[in-house]
């Protein structure tokens, strides 16, 4: 403590320079940072670089994994996957599933965050409700899946509610009906995913300077006007990052679909993840599964580039 004040009493820019040079000599060899990074680099190499090379290699094979003397078939497996109607159904379902989920996560997330941010709430009330609102997010997807399977059971409480309130005449087999299965899965994903947005937006809301609102109020702006002209612009960077991240994660969702509908009925909830999984572990066509997995990887990398750009733009 005493040393630091002695080195830098003025907080000016001058002491910074020798400071930086000094650091290099104190920290020793230029290889040292790599020593600290060795475990990370090893994990990344073994668990990221090698597998990605492997999956690309598999995708050019005739029957990877299953037959040792597999043949090189070039883009044949890509042709097979891309000409499969189910692949395109899965792509459309994935886009719909992720797109609607993200929009709903945002709307519910910002709604609840705004509510919780109200200065009319005592800290205790705020803490209690914040925890209640976060709850769905804390449950494992496996738990979320079985919970909703029970609620949506033909004899379950959801059917009791919809028939009691006269929304439908008789119970619906929500997850076994090809016209309701996808909307229901999207709904379940909305239920358990919005708290991620809510938490970050709540932090963001608390970071907005109060005088911006005061100034807007003095100018005669109402609450709605303040929301769209102060709150949203202030939160925009957070919203964009979260939306891309959430979109990436939602397109990768597997467990929820696998444990509720398994992609059915009749492909109505098939996603790229379940489609790829089935190719590998149900039909044992690991090569086609790899081709599909590489396509999924390429699509995700486009999203990743957007995400990294967004993060950079905010630095």
């Amino acid at each position: 403590m005493t040393t630091s004040t002695a080195v830098d009493p003025s907080r000016g820019s001058l002491p910074e320079r020798p400071h930086g040079r000094n650091r290099h000599s104190v920290h020793g060899s230029p290889l040292r940072p790599y020593a600290f990074l060795t475990p990370t680099l090893l994990v990344m190499l073994v668990l990221m670089v090698v597998p990605i090379v492997m999956v690309i290699w598999y995708s050019f094979q005739d029957s990877a994994v299953t037959i040792p003397s597999t043949e090189f078939v070039g883009l044949e497996k890509y042709r097979q996957v891309l000409s499969d109607g189910t692949f395109w159904t899965a792509t459309a379902n994935t886009a719909l599933f992720a797109g609607i989920s993200v929009i709903a996560h945002f709307i519910i997330g910002i709604g609840f965050a705004t509510l919780l941010n109200s200065e009319l709430l005592s800290p205790l009330v705020r803490a209690i409700f914040r925890t209640v609102f976060i709850l769905p997010w804390l449950f494992t997807v496996a738990v979320v899946a079985v919970l909703w399977r029970m609620l949506l059971n033909p004899n379950g409480i959801v059917n009791y509610l919809v028939t009691t309130f006269g929304i439908t005449d008789s119970g619906v087999e929500w997850l076994a009906n090809s016209s309701t299965a996808l909307p229901i899965i999207i709904f379940i994903n909305i239920w358990c995913g919005y708290p991620f947005f809510m938490v970050s937006l709540l932090a963001g809301l608390q970071g907005i300077p109060k005088d911006l609102y005061e100034a807007a109020r003095v100018d005669g702006a109402g609450i709605i006007h303040q929301f769209f002209h102060v709150t949203i612009p202030q939160l925009r960077p957070i919203i964009l990052s979260m939306a891309i991240l959430d979109f990436i994660w939602t397109t990768q969702q597997f467990a929820l679909i696998w444990m509720t509908t398994g992609g059915g009925p009749v492909d109505s909830t098939e996603m790229l993840s379940t489609y790829t999984y089935k190719l590998a572990f149900s039909t044992y066509d690991f090569s086609a599964a790899s081709a599909s997995a590489v396509v999924v990887l390429l699509l995700s990398m486009i999203l990743a580039v957007l995400y990294v750009r967004q993060q950079r733009a905010r630095d």
């Binding site: 079985v146 932090a203 005061e214 003095v218």
Partner: protein, 296 residues
Amino acid sequence: MSHAHSTTDRGPAPAALRRPQRSAAPKRIGIHALLIACALFPALPIVWMASTSFKPNGQVFDWPPKLITSAMNFDSYAAIFADGGKLRFFLNSYVVAGSVTVLTLLVSVLAAYALSRYEFPFKRALNVLIISVQAVPPITLLIPYFGLVVTLGLYDTYGGLILTYMVFTLPYAIIMMTGYFNTLPRELDEAVMVDGAGPLTVLFRILLPISVPGLVSVGVYTFMIAWNEYLFALTLTRTNEMRTVPIGIQLLMGQHSYDWSQIMAMSILGSIPILVLFTFFQRYFLSGMSAGAVKA
């Protein structure tokens, strides 16, 4: 929303500061009512899960449904605790998630120290790599992991799962820990280094003790990811001796006549570690989480 007028009509700013005390009573009631109404959305299904876990299985689909019945009991919980096979799922999850957490913390702290305190070639590229790794789809890695884990003799072992999970927990842990170290003044380590201490001493004696909030948030997050993982647990293990809780829950679902009461009890028990961790550490966890998501 309809109260918008009262806010704008209040006049100059100083008066607005007193607003909550004065005319806020109806607004205050309104906002609490709205909160309770909104809370039904997350809470009702969870309350129903808890209620079902205490019902005899024959009453689960009673019509009309009752939240509380006279026959509620702890039988489903007792049945799980009496079944070594089911307890094994919990043991496996604790072993796997605990090991992943310890290893991730160790590896990410070392990496974060380098990223926060040193300048070196390819640092920027490495940062970008770590951020983009988060976007690599698990399903893409699943097929080669399956091949790799079988080849390395790690199929159906703790080791296979622990190693696999690190690739999902590390990037976020590194990003968060680097961010945390960046907030600690460099004068701190330099002061000790001038006295001849090496970087490891600085890291473990100086930085780590004051990084407890950061370590806790990374640790809780990592544990949560590992505890909840499903896809790789499903694919890289085969025997019930190695299955984790999420798979155990699914296996309960697989039987012909569902014992919903026991499935819900298992779900509650399987969620308790996360709920407990969250309850105790939510202050650290939430700030760390949002800082990570926002400032990665």
